[in-house]
Every structure is written in structure tokens, then in C-alpha cells.
């Protein structure tokens, strides 16, 4: 499912002087795994919310699957969105937090996994009957991830899905995710602050400037999976991303000094 973002801007009401996103332009071909990185508050979450049509842009257009508006795409269940906070229903057990999809989504919507399969995918089999408030931060995030993976959508919008996870869990889940992604080839927008994680997963990294978010660099990651940190090619892309990040930070700080 391809995605075209043209000249997208967003200003939150009451925030006239500080737009969250400014003139963002990019195109994602179907099946690409794009990592979005950028400083805190630069508008990454805003971008995802715009594509999920949770908010309406102040200016610019988003086209999905060759012409659908975000709202149409969402209505067709093409989009799966995972927010930065886990957003679990406190009155449901872990399993029911996934099983609720069956009830909420329109009759006949296909789901990829059963709740128990999804739970075991993120290592929460043992917590199936636990309520969200008895789960640790990382477990809550994994539950939200399991819920997203259950959806049979072709555009995944994922807002820092591994932020609360330890390195090992992150690594294991990355592998599982890639295994899932490679045959299905959904288009993925993956917000992260962890560059290693970005480079282990993505085909492409979009680096954003500090607020107001604009695209500072568009970096290809032409490495085969599985990837190794020690690989010099990996280290080279890593350096590229780091430079893009710190460069625009320096620019920004110079401009605002």
C-alpha cells in the first residue's frame, strides 16, 4: 500500500506560532519499512495521527493506495495504528484487550491472529488473564503491539512500539516482526528513538528537524536482513543518520541562539 504525503502542515489550535509539522513531502512505495527519527516534540506522532486520520491537517494532502484519503483508507481497515502510550482497556484482561477487536471491527473483518497467538508472539502467554494495571510498562507495550499485529492491515503506523522494552526482548521481537513483515509486506511507518533498532528493521530512514518538523534527511538502508551492528555498511548508515540528526540540531540551535 503506497503512501504520498504532499506539503503537509499541521498547526494545533491555540498554537499558532509553533506549527507541529511544516511542509512535509515524501512518498513511500508499497511494502517499504520506513523508520521515522527526530528530536522529541518534532511532530512524528502528529504525522502518524494525521495519516490515521485522527486529526485533520492544516494544509497539504495525504494519499494512500493511489488516491484514497486517510479517512477512506481507515474506513476500509487498511490502516493499523499504535499509539505512543499503550492505550489498553483497564476493565479487560490482556486476552480480552485483543479479543475485543473481533467485536469492535465491522462484521467479517479478517484478523491475522487469534488473541492467544498474538499473546504468545509477544511473550505474554502467562499474562493472558492479567488486567492491564497489573502489567509492567514493557508488558503493557507488548500487549498493545500484539493487538496491532492481530489486525490484517497493509499500512502499519507504529509510534515507538519498543520504547519500553529491554534490548533482548526488543531484539527477539524485531526478528519475529521481520519474519511477519517479509512475507506480508505491509507498508510500515515506524517511529523510534533508537537508531540501532531503526537500522535493524527499516529500508529507509526519514530524519526530522526539531519543531516545526520538516524532513532533514531521507536515508536509504540498502542492507540485507538479518543485519549485524558490526557490519561496516551498517556502521556507515548509522553514521549518516547520526550526522543528519546532529547536523540539523546544530543548525537549529544556531538559528535560535
Amino acid at each position: 500500500m503506497d503512501l504520498t504525503v504532499s506539503c503537509l502542515s499541521h498547526v494545533y489550535p491555540g498554537r499558532k506560532t509553533r506549527p507541529a509539522l511544516e511542509a512535509v513531502d515524501f512518498t513511500v512505495p508499497s511494502g517499504q519499512f520506513v523508520a521515522l527519527v527526530g528530536p522529541s516534540g518534532c511532530g512524528k506522532s502528529t504525522l502518524l495521527r494525521l495519516i490515521a486520520s485522527l486529526i485533520q491537517p492544516t494544509a497539504g494532502r495525504i494519499e494512500i493506495d493511489g488516491g484514497l484519503t486517510p479517512s477512506q483508507a481507515a474506513a476500509a481497515q487498511h490502516i493499523a495504528w499504535m499509539s505512543q502510550s499503550p492505550a489498553l482497556l483497564p476493565w479487560l484482561t490482556a486476552r480480552d484487550n485483543i479479543a475485543i477487536l473481533r467485536r469492535v471491527l465491522p462484521e467479517g473483518t479478517r484478523l491475522r491472529l487469534s488473541p492467544d497467538e498474538a499473546l504468545s508472539m509477544v511473550g505474554l502467554e502467562a499474562a493472558a488473564e492479567a488486567y492491564p494495571f497489573t502489567l509492567s510498562g514493557g508488558m503493557q507495550q507488548r500487549l498493545a503491539l500484539a493487538r496491532l499485529l492481530t489486525l490484517d492491515s497493509s499500512l502499519w503506523l507504529m509510534d515507538e512500539p519498543f520504547a519500553a522494552l529491554d534490548e533482548l526482548t526488543r531484539e527477539r521481537l524485531s526478528q519475529d516482526l521481520l519474519e511477519l513483515w517479509q512475507p506480508l509486506r505491509p507498508t510500515v511507518l515506524w517511529v523510534t528513538h533508537n537508531i540501532y533498532e531503526a537500522l535493524r528493521l527499516a529500508n529507509r530512514v526519514l530524519v526530522f528537524t526539531p519543531q516545526p518538523g520538516r524532513i532533514a534527511a531521507d536515508i536509504d538502508v540498502p542492507l540485507p536482513y538479518p543485519r549485524e551492528e558490526a557490519d561496516p555498511a551498517f556502521q556507515q548508515v548509522l553514521l549518516q543518520v547520526r550526522q543528519a540528526l546532529s547536523l540539523n540540531r546544530n543548525q537549529y540551535e544556531a538559528a535560535h541562539a
Binding site: 481507515a74 465491522p106 492491564p132
Partner: protein, 256 residues
């Protein structure tokens, strides 16, 4: 930091109520208040004991009407609240009508109901329902509207229909508000049934009380109040208990 068990709080409750009753008894005796102004608790209890079976029968009728009216009122309140949540454009209008109904003293409607529906229990049930539906409506609307923003976004990302959003998100979120509404309405329903029976009823505690009052027989007037209070307190505690079990995901302790 001591946990306060249901047991210890029940004991505290008993003590407080007892102190109140003893003060009352003492006051009446000390100032020898005549019985036609304020009867002593002992007199009231004696009256209650001596007429147990009559009161039991009347209580049954009144409680039946109260519960039926409460059910009707709660249903009406919830259904209207649901409707207004699903079709929000009519909210202001329907709320205005509801307030209009609420602003009409029942004493003006009650005779009309008797005219239309006869002398049976139906008018009493409807009056009780009219008394109880408003707190339910207001609280349930509040509850249905106050939903966590992150969860709302989640459901919107799923394109959940308004009805499913309501069923799986708004309704569970409103449960604490619904319980508050029930706690308000349950005692109201009992008073409501009594008021509905106050004149023109063929039975029930309301009629008993009206006759007692018309005869200025205050022990007979206050004895049913003991029953009403007991029922009110029981209903309240039942609701509080159910709430603790059903709203397990929200902390509600006031004790640390």
C-alpha cells in the same frame, strides 16, 4: 496506614448511628418533648414492634413500587443518555425537556396520572420513575462523555461505529458514574414511592404515614421512617459492594 476492613467500618457505622439515636432519645426525655411534636426512638420502635405485620405488608407494597419505579427511571435515564450520546445534536433540546419535566412539581402531575391510570400502583411507579430518572440521566451522560482521550483515539483508529464505541468504550467508562447515579436514585426511589402514596393510595407506607400524619400520630409517622432508612441504607450498601466488585480497575480507597 491500617487497612479499614468492611467489618471495622460497619462497627463505626453502628456506633455513629447509635450515638445519634441515643442523643435523640435523651433530648426528648430531658426536655420532655410532647409526643405529637417529636416521639422518642423508643416509642417509635415500640410502635414498630406492635404493628410489625401491618408495616411488613405496607413495606412490601412500597418497596415493590419503589424498585419498579427505580428500574423504570434508571432505564429511562440510561436510554435517554445513550440516545443523546449517539445523537448528540438533540442533547440540548432533550435535556431542556427533561429539566422541564423535572421542574414540574409532582404534586401537579400526580393527580393527572391518577385520572389517566386509575388508583392502582401504576401511577405510583411512574411518579417514582419521574423522580429517579434525572440524576441517572445527568450522571450517565457525564460518564459517557468523559472518556479517556487515548482510548477514544484507539477506537477512532479502528473506525468503530458510534454504537460499538458506545458499547465497548463509553459504557464501561461510565460505570463509576452509573453507580454514583444509582446511589443517589435508590433512596430517592423509596421517598418517591412514599410521596406517590401520600394521598389517594390504597396501601403502602406512604398511606400509613399520611394517615398517621393526618391524625398527628407521630410514632406511627416515624415508625415507617425507620423502615425506609433501613431499606435505603441496605440498598446503598448493596450498591457500594457491587461497585467495589465491578469497578475493580479504578483505585477508590480513601485510606492510605
Amino acid at each position: 496506614m491500617k487497612p479499614h476492613t468492611p467489618d471495622s467500618s460497619a462497627r463505626a457505622a453502628l456506633i455513629i448511628v447509635l450515638v445519634f439515636v441515643l442523643l435523640w432519645e435523651g433530648g426528648v426525655r430531658l426536655f420532655s418533648v410532647p409526643v405529637y411534636l417529636l416521639p422518642a426512638p423508643s416509642t417509635i420502635l415500640l410502635t414498630l414492634a406492635q404493628n410489625a405485620s401491618m408495616y411488613a405488608q405496607a413495606t412490601l407494597l412500597t418497596v415493590g413500587e419503589a424498585l419498579a419505579g427505580l428500574l423504570l427511571g434508571v432505564l429511562a435515564g440510561v436510554i435517554i443518555a445513550v440516545l443523546l450520546t449517539l445523537v448528540p445534536h438533540i442533547e440540548a433540546g432533550v435535556m431542556s425537556l427533561a429539566i422541564m419535566i423535572k421542574s414540574t412539581p409532582l404534586v401537579a402531575i400526580a393527580p393527572l396520572l391518577t385520572l389517566w391510570l386509575g388508583f392502582g400502583v401504576l401511577p405510583k411507579i411512574i411518579i417514582t420513575a419521574l423522580l429517579t430518572f434525572f440524576p441517572v440521566l445527568v450522571n450517565v451522560i457525564s460518564g459517557l462523555q468523559r472518556v479517556d482521550g487515548a482510548l477514544l483515539d484507539l477506537f477512532r483508529s479502528w473506525r468503530a461505529s458510534r454504537w460499538k464505541l458506545f458499547l465497548y468504550l463509553r459504557l464501561p467508562s461510565a460505570v463509576p458514574y452509573i453507580f454514583a447515579a444509582l446511589k443517589i436514585s435508590a433512596p430517592l426511589a423509596i421517598t418517591g414511592a412514599v410521596v406517590a402514596e401520600w394521598t389517594g393510595a390504597s396501601g403502602g407506607l406512604g398511606r400509613v404515614m399520611w394517615l398517621a400524619y393526618a391524625n398527628l400520630n407521630l410514632p406511627y409517622l416515624f415508625a415507617p421512617i425507620v423502615i425506609l432508612a433501613a431499606i435505603g441504607i441496605s440498598l446503598y450498601r448493596l450498591l457500594a459492594h457491587a461497585e467495589r466488585r465491578l469497578v475493580f480497575w479504578l483505585p477508590s480507597s480513601t485510606v492510605e
